[in-house]
């Protein structure tokens, strides 16, 4: 990679996942060091290193996340119970034949339900991530500008700084292990 050339989004994004881990490490290390140096009391925590959400934002996001969680759980439960009920009470489910010899019940228990679980999980996670992106962090302090660097694309990087609203620090509770 030419280090003098501005990086493109496609070059940056693969780094983000491992970078998050790296950031998490630094975040934890710095916090740990500060704690050991008694620069922050337990009550203060690492407030300086924390972004903030407003109570209203979190409440709205919480309600949306709860709807998603319960909604997908109902779908998940319906799928599992449907197959279980079919297995116990439907003779077609255990004696019928599909896909070259599988009983519908064995096919679902042995393969189909795992595919269903992954579909439900992936869809719910995608929606929950979207809610986090849209509903949280609007009042955050933007990161320091890097004039010589191109801005990354993506919901967080492109979010325009908004008018600051009164925020409640999320870190006034005891913190003693750098999270």
């Amino acid at each position: 990679m030419d280090l003098n050339k501005p990086a493109s989004t496609s070059e940056i994004e693969p780094c983000i996942d491992s970078g998050i881990a790296l950031g998490g490490q630094l975040y934890a290390r710095i916090g740990d060091q500060l704690h050991d140096m008694d620069l922050f009391s337990e009550a203060d925590g690492y407030a300086s290193f924390h972004d903030a959400d407003t109570a209203a934002e979190v409440d709205a996001a919480f309600r949306s996340q709860r709807r998603i969680a319960i909604g997908y759980f109902v779908v998940f439960l319906a799928g599992v119970l449907g197959v279980a009920l079919g297995t116990v009470f439907s003779s077609w489910a255990t004696e019928g034949r599909v896909f070259g010899g599988f009983s519908p019940s064995f096919l679902m228990t042995g393969v189909g339900l795992y595919v269903f679980f992954l579909a439900v999980g992936a869809a719910a996670a995608s929606l929950a991530n979207g809610v986090d992106d849209r509903m949280l962090g609007a009042s955050s302090i933007p990161p320091p500008k890097q004039p010589s660097r191109p801005r990354q694309t993506g919901s967080r990087a492109t979010r325009s700084p908004t008018t600051k609203s009164p925020t409640t620090k999320s870190s006034t509770m005891g913190r003693e292990d750098g999270r």
Partner: protein, 555 residues
């Protein structure tokens, strides 16, 4: 043990020790490193590690054994194990990580601002860990016995397997801490998956067809070997619990009636969310979002794993009955073509298709599954004793070194207790009417977790109004009822089947108790602050921004 078997086993163990030593430099600097790998485990690595933690002997040997012994009913074990991660994904992973902390008792204690909640949770966590550890140790004895008759002086081969596996794992954990254990668990799960894929390929190369195999075995009557008073052995057919008559491989009823069927799935599903060694792994994620995406990967990976395990259980049913008369070693393990110990199903399949080397590969896989799970359990026990008891109550001003030492001592003590308990069990003498002894014992850990910690965690995360007195009363009630049901089920072979899987009744009751008592007591004063941590993403953004800044700086 042949040279090939010894070679495979030694190679696997040397790699494990090497990983532990490599991780040692960084992993044991602080108690946070030792317990949580500095909270820096990436998504895919953590997903593999969680699978390594979760896929224990009960999954690797037990699921195939359950399918082998109970057919369709056995396959539902795997469904329950895999289904457990959906509630974790939907309700727990992200808020749990965002709240931080080090262990489930730590989370509950801080959420409810109650040391009473914390201490009760520690007791429950330790019971769950023991309930999960003992069957792992039992499985290690079974696997070692089959792999080698070598034994330590004064011990049987079974006991030798237990002593070697627990002491080796305790050593690995002490050397590598959470970071070393993470890499070991991830690698070990990759090996397990590779073993199942290899077995599948060997079967396919011999012309295996899943659908045709099922067609062949579905009508087979299920039978269990029993020992008569005169020492002779015979097969007793299994009676269907649904329709009476003989149970068959392809129909439900071999193990469970209609209610028992749902009770099993519900218990496994609810219990997963309360397993301390699995939930602790989410604290190692750098952010809540990473914890969420980790869980999605876990759902996919365990899905692949259980699909293969169920298929191999069905294949074992056909192949072992076909070839027991031709092969002396298989005849020794079976009675009229049915294995005495169902956990031998996958191991026998390995030997059938890969000879001694195949057996050693599968046995080594089984031992790795056991080691990775024991490692996670020991770390979870260590986090509870070391952090929640020692640092919080015994020595609140503990130095880093003292806290670290407390965690390390608790690893050794818990390993010793589990070994002793496992030595008191002998699978050849125990019959508790189960399709798989190991899977059934592990189910008890799920029952304890689902009856106590899961309702407390879900209500604590999603209901502001829940209170500490309610959680204490709810968890205590759940603990007493679950223990009573499990004890009854162990003591009385004719006990109702749902007593082994009581969460379907106890879980809702505990939730109702928590709700009623919460409405009559006061929640913590700063619940709004707690909500910001649980459901806000500020800490995630902080970590992400720091990451971006780091990337900018290093480019």
């Amino acid at each position: 043990m042949t040279a090939a078997q010894a070679g495979v086993l030694v190679a696997a163990l040397v790699v494990s020790v090497g990983i532990g030593l490599l991780a040692r430099v960084r992993s044991t600097r602080t108690a946070l490193d030792f317990h949580l790998a500095g909270r820096q485990t990436g998504v895919l690595l953590n997903a593999f590690a969680i699978c390594g933690d979760y896929v224990s002997a009960a999954s690797f040997l037990g699921v195939a054994a359950a399918v082998y012994a109970a057919g369709l009913d056995g396959a539902w074990y795997a469904t329950g194990f895999a289904a457990g991660f959906i509630p974790v994904l939907l309700f727990i992973a992200t808020p749990l990580r965002r709240f931080g902390e080090r262990s489930i008792p730590d989370f509950l204690g801080r959420r409810y601002r109650s040391e009473g909640v914390r201490l009760l949770a520690v007791v429950i966590v330790e019971l769950i860990i023991l309930a999960y550890l003992v069957p792992q140790a039992v499985a290690s004895g079974i696997a070692w016995e089959l792999l080698s008759n070598a034994s330590l002086p004064g011990l049987s081969a079974y006991a030798t397997g237990i002593v070697l596996s627990t002491s080796f794992t305790a050593f690995l954990v002490l050397v590598g801490g959470m970071r070393g254990t993470t890499w070991n668990q991830a690698l070990q799960f990759a090996v397990l998956l590779a073993v199942l894929i290899w077995l599948t390929l060997m079967l396919v190369a011999e012309g295996f067809s899943y659908a045709e195999t099922l067609t062949d075995v579905e009508a087979q009557t299920l039978a269990t070997p029993v020992v008569n008073d005169d020492g002779s052995e015979q097969l007793i057919t299994v009676e269907s619990r649904l329709e009476g008559g003989d149970a068959t491989f392809g129909l439900p009823g071999a193990r469970y009636g209609a209610v028992g069927h749902f009770a099993l799935v519900f218990t496994l599903m609810a219990g997963t969310a309360g397993l301390p060694h699995v939930m602790n792994r989410f604290f190692t994620s750098p952010t809540g979002r990473a914890a969420r995406m980790t869980t999605v990967w876990v759902v996919g990976l365990v899905g692949v794993f259980y699909t293969l395990a169920v298929m191999l259980g069905a294949a074992a049913r056909l192949e072992i009955s076909r070839r027991a008369d031709e092969l002396d070693w298989l005849a020794e393990l079976s009675v009229d073509g049915v294995l005495r110990v169902p956990e031998h199903a996958l191991l026998s399949l390995g030997r059938l298709y890969g000879g001694q080397l195949g057996l050693s590969v599968v046995t080594t896989g089984a031992l790795l599954a056991i080691i990775s799970t024991i490692g996670g359990l020991l770390l979870a026990a260590s986090a509870s004793w070391g952090h929640d008891i020692y640092e919080r109550h015994i020595n609140p001003h503990a130095s880093r070194a003292q806290a670290l030492r407390a965690g390390q001592v608790s690893v050794a003590v818990v390993a010793l207790i589990a070994s002793v308990l496992a030595l008191l069990l002998d699978p050849a003498r125990i019959t508790i009417g189960t399709p798989s002894l190991v899977a059934s014992l592990v189910t008890m850990a799920f029952a304890l977790a689902g009856s106590t910690l899961t309702p407390a965690m879900i209500l604590g995360i999603w209901w502001k109004r829940s209170t500490a007195p309610a959680i204490i009363l709810g968890m205590a009630t759940g603990l007493v009822l679950a223990l009573a049901a499990l004890t009854w089920s162990l003591a009385d072979p004719n006990a109702p089947e749902t007593l082994q899987t009581p969460v379907v009744a106890v879980g809702p009751l505990v939730s109702a108790i928590i709700v009623v008592v919460s409405l009559k007591t006061k929640p913590v004063a700063d619940v709004d602050e707690i909500w910001l941590k649980l459901h806000g993403s500020a800490s995630d953004r902080g970590a992400e921004r720091l990451t971006q800044a780091t990337l900018e700086t290093t480019r």
